[in-house]
Symmetry: C2
Subunit: 202 residues, 2 copies
DNA sequence: GTCTATAAGGGGATAGAC
DNA sequence: GTCTATCCCCTTATAGAC
């Protein structure tokens, strides 16, 4: 989207298609989603899908790209910024992710599954993107007296924040946390992440 | 399978189908896997798939059930056993999961994704299964002076062990850990889980 | 840009011979 | 139990009218 639309203009046909495709692909995956369903959900004629996007596959790539950056932009720029302290980084990422994922619960499992099943697609998308700025984090770990490696630090951070969302069906149907309590559960965890990270990484 | 076969008998047709289906479904998901591919991979005639399993869907359910228990049986019986100390529980689960997942890397993302996309299927499978024995763990947490809740304890444990596998594509393509170093990475983490769990949960 | 109609082929399933 | 041949619906994609 080149120009952000402000206010109440109705969606263009293109936007309606992307929105519907986004919803259905993330819910059901590529193969299980039919172009007819997308057209119906978007309330447009089936032929328009091909008119605007050429093929189901190209439409899918647009959606995946969008969703992947949605997930990464919460983390990458902050981690690489030297002017942001380690504590601030952890707190901000925990806050932003928890909020984002509460609004888009299906996002991480969709991306991680697609990345596993369809690796080639992601090679294109992430090519040339420096995802993690190792040196910056390494320096800040030392300054904070943390002896952990950068990969372990990142793995621990993302684990503690994101895993609850990825494993939500297991956590809920096992009765560990009630569906209605899930938001409280992850919000409480969010508040402890920095404490946990300092303890773990000594 | 009622009777375990010892030694070198060739696989029965039924076993060949399950094996092939297992491989393809976990790699590509339900909708993307064609019955014709399963037949070819299993080296059997397409009609035999329906002869033995009735339909693609029934075959799929068999596979999902197998895989789900593979994932759960590593954890459920141990967690519920009162005679196993908390430390032993954590160490054993970390050890067993790391080994299992190194051999079946696609297992957790497959199950967690299917559980999200296709919840109904799992309602049947997990019905009446008491997945976690909360009281046992609660008692042991107190005895170990840990103030954490049972859901947080389980979430932390599984996060720290499993998330690396679920997020492997991200971890590897970002350059955080080299593909060839991945086994070492998770094995090193495995050795620290108990230490981390005691620190976090004070 | 949007519609209807249809082409072209894929995919799950089964009848019936062996 | 296993095979061949085939049914028939569903899906993606496009031609061509408006």
């Amino acid at each position: 989207m080149r120009f952000k639309t402000k206010g109440m203009e109705p969606l263009t046909t293109e936007q309606k298609i992307i929105k519907a495709a986004s919803k259905l692909f993330t819910q059901k995956g590529y193969a299980a989603t039919k172009t007819r369903e997308i057209a119906e959900e978007a309330d447009i004629n089936l032929a328009l899908l091909n008119y605007y996007f050429g093929s189901k596959e190209r439409l899918y790539k647009e959606v995946v790209k969008d969703k992947l950056w949605m997930l990464l932009e919460v983390m990458i720029p902050i981690l690489s910024d030297e002017k942001v302290s380690l504590e601030e980084k952890v707190m901000t990422i925990a806050e932003n992710y928890t909020q984002l994922l509460l609004e888009h619960e299906e996002l991480p499992i969709f991306i991680l599954n697609e990345w596993t099943v369809n690796e080639d697609l992601f090679v294109d998308i992430t090519r040339d993107a420096r995802l993690f700025a190792k040196p910056v984090i390494e320096k800040q770990l030392k300054e904070n007296g943390m002896k952990v490696s950068v990969p372990d630090f990142i793995a621990n951070l993302l684990s503690l924040i994101m895993f609850s969302f990825v494993a939500k069906p297991l956590i809920v149907s096992s009765g560990l946390v009630e569906e209605g309590e899930f938001a409280n559960f992850v919000n409480r965890r969010k508040g402890k992440i920095w404490e946990w990270m300092t303890k773990i990484n000594q």
